[in-house]
Amino acid sequence: MAGDNIKMAETINEVKFSDAAMAEIQRYISHYPEGRQKSALLPILHIAQAEFGGWVSPEAMDKVAEILNIKPIEVYEVATFYTMFNLKPVGKHVLEVCRTGPCCLRGADQMIDMIKQKLNIEEGETTADGMFTLKPVECLASCGSGPMLQVRELYYENIDSEEKLDQFLEMMRNKEHETPTWAK
């Protein structure tokens, strides 16, 4: 509930970025003038989310603050503003399903209902096996190919029948995430 602060007691393992991630972080910082390193905050949060299991913990945010030499609250303020950053643990595949008007004209509402039914979860929930989290999102700029959804960096478009949805879910169950280009 709003107003409840997160307790630091739920700590996870030590937050340490890989060498590849640190190199990518430094590359982003180098894009901005001296003293403006905070500008790299959003790209670094994306990197943190990819590095640490698809979400950003308070500890990960504190680490980002330390790297950028800013106050932790500056990171919290930003991470809670933007919807892409998951602030709680999520399933292996976060199904970010577009729920906005144009996709709904082509059946997005029905697709979301089908996902709920098939996976037996509500919006924002994760399946018991930890495989899927359902996260309806607003317009993903793919209105000509709706209904559609995003998982990590990839778009899956024109999922306009139960058959296609089944195929998609089956494929995802057996799929590992793509390695981000910077980690290759």
Binding site: I73, E77, T80
Partner: protein, 326 residues
């Protein structure tokens, strides 16, 4: 210098002055209200929109009117500018609409709120609100949070003016609270459990226009209208030591910074003065504090009553309900 006409009154101000400050130079009934702007805080203003005014002439050079209402707290005057506030029905209607917006999720728990009697939102809703609400939905609520031993955050009452965030950034150091989330789910908070802990943290209470940030040492001690404000000072190594004591009999119930008629503090004070010096012997009493608009104390009995003299003729009916002025 720039000469402007505000609600039919001419006033001359320095270049770079905002419309709001120019209106304050005139003073009285014509001054637009301000819930988020706060003169001592850099970057404040523009957010609450209650100070919207109509610029009917941009300047002497370019007399075209501005197409939309503008926030008077952040719009600078131009020589020859003509501005309407209380004389413009569009402005009054827009303000009424904005006050309604500020109130739809406000708990209206004034009877148990420590800010009652000196609350900007209470005054504003009295002046511009309507008696019935059109909002049927459930109001937004948050849990109360203690931000350390002295300050309580009651987010449900917050109108997101950002003043406390600017204060923490500019007056105190090591800010640990901020605005989290977004839209109508945005809230003031620390995200992880944290206390606001530095010598000037208490100032966030003084700048809060509503009862969202309150002084725990004063909580439920008394109603402000039963107290007697006295100017006092002490030799403080940290701040100026110039404060207002809110007393009842020999008891110091609360210590605040001295505020002007727009509820803006004259000098920020330290936590020792505010929270730890609660005895009359800690202070040199200067005399009764003169309190202007913004507090029911202005109507208190210990000072001679001051007659309200309207200075603008032909005001529309809707401004007649204003609180007493100095």
């Amino acid at each position: 210098m720039a000469k402007i006409t505000f609600d039919g009154i001419e006033v001359e101000v320095e270049d770079g002055t905002t419309i709001l400050q120019a209106a304050r130079k005139i003073g009285g009934d014509v001054v637009p209200p301000a819930m988020c702007f706060y003169t001592p805080l850099k970057g404040s203003g523009g957010k609450c929109r209650v100070c919207l005014v109509k610029v009917t002439q941009g300047s002497a050079k370019d007399p075209r009117p501005m197409p939309k209402l503008v926030a008077s707290c952040i719009t600078q005057v131009q020589d020859g500018m003509v501005v309407e506030n209380t004389t413009n029905e569009d402005v009054l209607n827009a303000r009424k609409g904005i006050v309604e917006m500020l109130l739809i999720n406000h708990p209206l728990d004034c009877p148990v709120c420590d800010q009652a009697g000196e609350c900007d939102l209470q005054n504003l809703s009295y002046e511009h609100g309507v008696s019935a609400t059109r909002y049927e939905e459930e109001r937004r609520t948050f849990n109360k949070v203690d931000l350390g031993p002295y300050i309580q955050l009651h987010m449900t009452r917050c109108i997101l003016c950002y003043r406390c965030v600017y204060t923490a950034d500019q007056i105190a150091d090591n800010r640990v609270h901020g605005v989290l989330g977004r839209g109508d789910a945005a809230e003031i908070g620390t995200y992880i459990e944290n206390v606001i802990d530095n010598e000037f943290s208490g100032n966030v209470i003084d700048v809060c226009p509503v009862g969202a940030l309150t002084d725990k040492t004063w909580r439920f001690k008394n109603r402000v209208w039963f107290t007697k404000p006295m100017d006092a000072h002490r030799d403080c190594p940290t701040c100026s030591g110039k404060v207002t004591l809110w007393t009842r009999g020999e008891e110091v119930l609360r210590v605040t910074a001295r505020k002007d008629q727009y509820a803006e503090v004259e000098e920020f004070i330290c936590n020792t003065c505010r929270f730890d010096k609660k005895e009359v012997k800690d202070w040199t009493i200067e005399g009764p504090r003169h309190i202007d608009r913004g507090s029911v104390i202005s109507a208190n009995h210990y000072e001679l009553p001051v007659v309200n003299v309207p200075i603008v003729p032909n005001l529309p009916v809707s401004t007649k309900k204003n609180l007493p002025q100095e």
